[in-house]
């Protein structure tokens, strides 16, 4: 069985997001109003050939803690679907 994981990684609250601030400013210059805050994250798509959902979840979580996410400054969430 194969799974598709979509992992969304964002900066934790309180960590300065310079790129988000710049984009937010640009949107304001374009006339977009009402932006309270804009934060930019990263999306990682992974296709996994792993037979069971439980094992696929464990793999995604280990990949995040091993490399994909720096837990001092970032947090993540993910969805998993059969493909």
């Amino acid at each position: 069985m194969s799974f598709h994981a979509e992992i969304i990684i964002t900066l934790k609250e309180g960590v300065l997001d310079t790129a988000g601030k710049a984009v937010s400013l640009s949107l304001r210059h374009l006339g977009h109003q009402g932006i309270r805050e804009l934060r930019i994250g990263r999306v990682v798509h992974v296709n996994l050939d792993i037979p069971e959902e439980k094992a696929a979840r464990a793999t995604v979580e280990t990949m995040c803690s091993d490399l994909l996410v720096n837990d001092l400054i970032e947090e993540y969430r993910y969805t998993l679907e059969k493909i």
Partner: protein
């Protein structure tokens, strides 16, 4: 004193560091490819140089921190031997959890390449023992992700333990927002681990180690580590 300079794919300051070490320390200085699993025998000092390891993909230093050589670098540090990370090397050390904190994009959103002033906050480290306390040094910086970040509570600990080794200051040694080029917390330019055998800094001492490059303030760092090792003996 034996030194090893690790070269990752995308390192670009390795030759500068090799040259500075060869000119200003006595002993063997060797380059080491990141895919090696071992450091040269009896290495005293490992330097992780600046550059753009792995193209800065994912996060600067993230993939280099997981290179095969890093296991040996961690063991080297755990034995109390010396590790110096400069610029991208500092980012690698934080990603490898050999130093606390993280380096975020500069507050100005720009890549900054210019000379800056840093103040020696303590001479009680192997890397600063030959400077005088609060001496102002001029080192170049060249980075996009140099904003040192650590949650406030941990920052207090760092200060209390004397782990803040360099701060950005003006030419007279005064701390100010203007003298902080990248928005680092508390003007931090360089920190050490609790044992102070591992140092990371964003400015480049190796680019201030030859009059031809416009400055020689970095030479004191090489002399510091040399005399520290001679006095304390090999770990």
């Amino acid at each position: 004193m034996r030194s090893a300079v690790v070269i990752f794919p995308g390192s670009n300051c390795d030759q500068d560091v090799l040259r500075a070490l060869r000119e200003h320390t006595r002993g063997v200085v060797e380059p080491v490819w990141h895919a090696n699993e071992n450091l040269p025998k009896d290495t005293d000092l490992v330097v992780l140089p600046g550059g753009f390891s792995y193209g800065d993909y994912l996060r600067p230093g993230a993939m280099a921190a997981r290179s095969p050589i890093m296991k040996a670098v961690k063991e080297h540090a755990a034995r109390g031997r010396y590790v110096l990370g400069i610029c991208n090397g500092f980012q690698v050390l934080t990603e490898a959890h050999l130093l606390p904190g993280a380096l975020l994009p500069n507050k100005s959103l720009s890549f900054i390449c210019r000379p800056c002033h840093v103040r020696v906050e303590t001479t009680g480290s192997p890397f600063t023992s030959r400077y005088s306390r609060h001496k102002v040094l001029q080192f170049p910086i060249a980075h996009h992700e140099g904003l040192y970040f650590l949650p406030d509570k941990e920052l207090e600990e760092l200060e209390k333990n004397g782990q803040i080794i360099f701060r950005y200051v003006d030419s007279r040694g005064a701390l100010s927002e203007e003298s902080n080029p990248n928005g680092s917390k508390d003007n931090i330019a360089g920190i050490a681990n609790a044992e102070r055998n591992v140092l990371g800094l964003m400015p480049h001492p190796e680019r201030a180690s030859d009059p031809a490059l416009g400055g020689i303030d970095g030479i004191g760092m090489w002399h510091s580590i040399q005399s520290w090792i001679e006095e304390k003996g090999r770990k």
